[in-house]
Amino acid sequence: MKCDLPIELLSGYLDGELDSEQTRMVEEHLEACKVCRKELEDLKQLDGYIRSVEVEEPSREFLFTVNRRVIDRIKKKRRVSFFRFAPVLVPVAVAALVLIVLVKSPEPTQFVDIDHLVYFVEPETRYTETTAEVSAVDGRSVPAEKSAERVRAPVVMKDEATEELTAAGAPAPSAPEPVMKKAAVGSEYRREAELSEDADMTDIEGLFQVYELPKGQVVRAIVDTTGRVVKVATGNTIIPERDTVLENRLQGQQLAPDRFKGKRVQFYLDFINEDPEETSEPCTE
């Protein structure tokens, strides 16, 4: 005999999930229907079987390590989630770094050297001492101021400081004869360098005169931190060229004092062989 009670109601009745009206209806039906009572018993038994299935104990490893594993995986995922932007962030970061390097990178170090042909890199020279004029003809070292007084030759100075000195203190020339004059001191880095007045200076004028430079030519000596000549160049005042012949004569000569105030670096000294007639005017004023 087939019963028309929906299985949903029987199942719901078993679970106690029917409302009061449905419950009353099912209970009335069950009193009258043997088949449904049997079916309800079967369902109860089936539930009992389901509940009888024992749950196996979890492993000790699970009990003791699952917490840590979960937390570790969470932290790892958070780190990974940051790096998932790496395909975008890394190129951007590299590009930014390159840009910063290009913008911020200092100009390449430019040593004062003949090869670079640097001339008056730092025009505001602090060379204001009388040592600007160095002259020695008798082979002994002389104080710079004295040597300036002995100079009879007209002097042409590119340096403002030495111009002042010449106009104020130096007597007018009486015998025009070419004399090598120190015209300028240049150093790219040395701002405080000053030649001391009692510095021993090697007589180089004689060497220059022997060498007989054409008028208007400059002798540029590259001097190292000890004051000794390293390289020599001659030529016009803008771009003198390396002169190995004169360099062989002067190399190692003590051309400047070996003590400086400030950073000790290479610098250069220019000696100009000027025509005295062309440059006498400023001195006589």
């Binding site: 929906p6 949903e8 199942s11 719901g12 509940r51 009888s52 299935v53 917490n67 979960v70 969470i74």
Partner: protein
């Protein structure tokens, strides 16, 4: 830290704020209840343990969407059950033991009364019948019969209407009874 007395909402709020260590007490609190649910669905210890771990990871990833005031365990169960259903669907396509194979295996054991008592036989049959249920039916039976969730709770966990819970549960019981009968071993 494991034995934190802070309630679920406080811990969840801390986790939502970025304190992942606050997740530890939640794992400790619910790993065994969730393992029981998973074991009854998977009928395998290793699979159940894996499912629990995966469920906690997925729950963490979705924790920002957790609404305060809800039951964290129900919410966790929903994630775990859905994950398990997906796993079971894939597994079933692979290596499902046929009902005939189950009957043969049970019959072979029943010849040895020491090894297999009647009670054990029944448990093996119901286990095998549950394994052959569609995962939706198995899930709803586990939640109702074994975990004793109410229809309303099941409705929230599975995101289905309450009426669907009632009808699906009834069909699941019918199907299970049919399978259980099919697996009865003919002792003759």
């Amino acid at each position: 830290m494991y034995n934190s007395v802070e309630n679920d909402d406080v811990l969840i709020e801390r986790v939502q704020g970025g304190d992942c260590e606050a997740y530890n007490p939640l794992v400790e609190r619910y790993k065994l209840p969730l393992y029981k649910v998973m074991y009854r669905m998977m009928h395998n210890r290793d699979d159940a343990e894996d499912m629990v771990e995966e469920a906690f990871i997925k729950a963490y990833k979705a924790i920002k969407r957790f609404e305060r005031g809800r039951s964290f365990f129900s919410w966790l169960c929903r994630i775990a059950v859905n994950n398990a259903i997906n796993y079971l669907k894939k597994e079933r396509r692979g290596n499902a033991e046929s009902i005939e194979d189950v009957k043969y295996r049970l019959a072979a054991r029943s010849g040895n009364p020491v090894e297999m008592t009647r009670q054990k036989m029944l448990k093996e049959r119901i286990t095998a019948a549950m394994e052959h249920l569609p995962s939706e039916y198995r899930t709803i039976l586990v939640l109702r019969v074994e975990e004793e969730f109410s229809y309303d709770e099941i409705s929230k966990i599975l995101k289905i209407p309450r009426g669907t819970v009632m009808s699906r549960l009834a069909r699941a019981r019918e199907k299970l009874r049919t399978l259980f009968k099919e697996m009865e071993v003919n002792r003759t």
